[in-house]
């Protein structure tokens, strides 16, 4: 077994892209595997399939690292491969045109066998509920995978301007949700308002 030293993520990526050796790949694998696995699990993929897909993604990274033109966009490229793997899996098993399936909505199909991470994702998902599927995908890549604008554009193969606009638009939509939740928790100012809710006997 190749023993990987404990090194930071960016250093592991840089070392792998420079050396492209199995040793460097082993170190990178240990760091990236939990992240890629999370990507699939949070999109509703069963555990065993998620593990298989995560391995596929990382071996693809090893084999095709020469195709990465801009090293700064490594994570965008990584999640683009992950997205393609997921689309391929969906095409194969759902026998539908994958373009018509919103990846982001897949988790509803596995609600019965939700694992802890998916349940934790509940409150985040509730926040994202008012958004359109593509906006949700962008926000998940931004807030969970912690990708930058350009990396998201690479991951989803969409223009940078679209990413910026969608993030802005999503937040603007969510301010309405926030306003609503603030109103619900606001203390009632007048005694009349309080009386409407509290029945005073006699």
């Amino acid at each position: 077994m190749l023993e990987a030293p404990n090194i930071p993520e960016t250093e592991a990526v840089a070392t792998f892209l420079r050396d492209k050796s199995e040793q460097a790949f082993a170190a990178l694998f240990e760091i990236l595997y939990p992240k890629v696995l999370r990507y699939f699990i949070l999109r509703g993929t069963p555990d065993a399939v998620a593990e298989e897909l995560a391995q596929d993604v990382l071996t693809a990274v090893y084999r095709h690292s020469d195709a990465l033109r801009d090293r700064q966009l490594f994570f965008g490229w990584l999640f683009r491969i992950a997205r393609n793997q997921l689309l391929q899996h969906v095409r194969k098993h759902h026998r539908k045109d994958a373009d018509t399936i919103a990846i982001d909505d897949l988790d509803t199909q596995s609600a019965g066998r939700m694992r802890t991470e998916q349940r934790i994702a509940g409150s985040f998902r509730e926040w994202l509920a008012p958004l359109e599927p593509q906006e949700r995908q962008i926000m998940m890549l931004r807030y969970i995978e912690e990708l930058g604008y350009q990396e998201i554009a690479t991951a989803l193969n969409i223009p940078l301007g679209t990413v910026k606009w969608k993030i802005f638009r999503s937040k603007a939509k969510l301010t309405e949700t926030l306003k609503g939740s603030r109103k619900e928790t606001e203390p009632l100012e007048t005694s009349d308002e309080r009386r409407k809710l509290v029945r005073i006997p006699g």
């Binding site: 790949f25 593990e51 071996t59 509730e126 603007a172």
Partner: protein
């Protein structure tokens, strides 16, 4: 102030117009309120996704097992590349048919049954058998080239 700089400001990404935007916000209460709300949304999203960002808890044994599987896959990929390289060397010297037969026979002699079933640890034995088969079929110079290429491929893979 362009739209893009506003987007960046609201998303806490530094831009050249940060100071201009800050100055505008001092005098415009409507924009200030919008920025405050947007920042609150940002914070709520960060808070609700914090646990998810920490990652899926995967034990070290599970990661190690997955890594071994992935490396094994890469190993077989690397072997097929090595075989391809030897074939490309042999084919112009010995012909397509003879090269294919020589490679299959050498793989059979190291108990692989087929070149596809060849393993990394039997590579050197395979190269030696291929050397002797090619020496018989195509002559010693070709066999020597095959051996040299086979050894070099092994070193590169290591």
């Amino acid at each position: 102030m362009n739209e893009e700089n506003w987007f960046a400001y609201l998303d806490n990404v530094a831009s050249a117009e940060d100071s201009t935007i800050a100055a505008h916000l001092k005098s415009c209460s409507a924009c200030r309120e919008t920025v405050e709300l947007m920042r609150s949304v940002d914070q709520a999203l960060l808070d609700s996704s914090a646990t998810l960002r920490a990652g899926v808890p995967v034990g070290n044994p599970a990661i190690a097992a997955a890594k071994e599987k992935a490396l094994a896959r890469l190993g077989s990929h690397s072997l097929s590349l090595r075989l391809g390289s030897l074939y490309l060397l042999l084919a112009p010297m010995c012909g397509v048919e003879t090269s294919t037969r020589a490679i299959c026979a050498a793989a059979y002699r190291v108990s692989a049954g087929s070149p596809r079933l060849l393993e990394d640890r039997s590579w050197l034995g395979f190269v030696e058998h291929l050397h002797s088969i090619v020496a018989t079929l195509c002559g010693e110079p070709a066999a020597q080239l095959v051996r040299e290429r086979g050894m070099r491929l092994q070193q590169e893979a290591a």
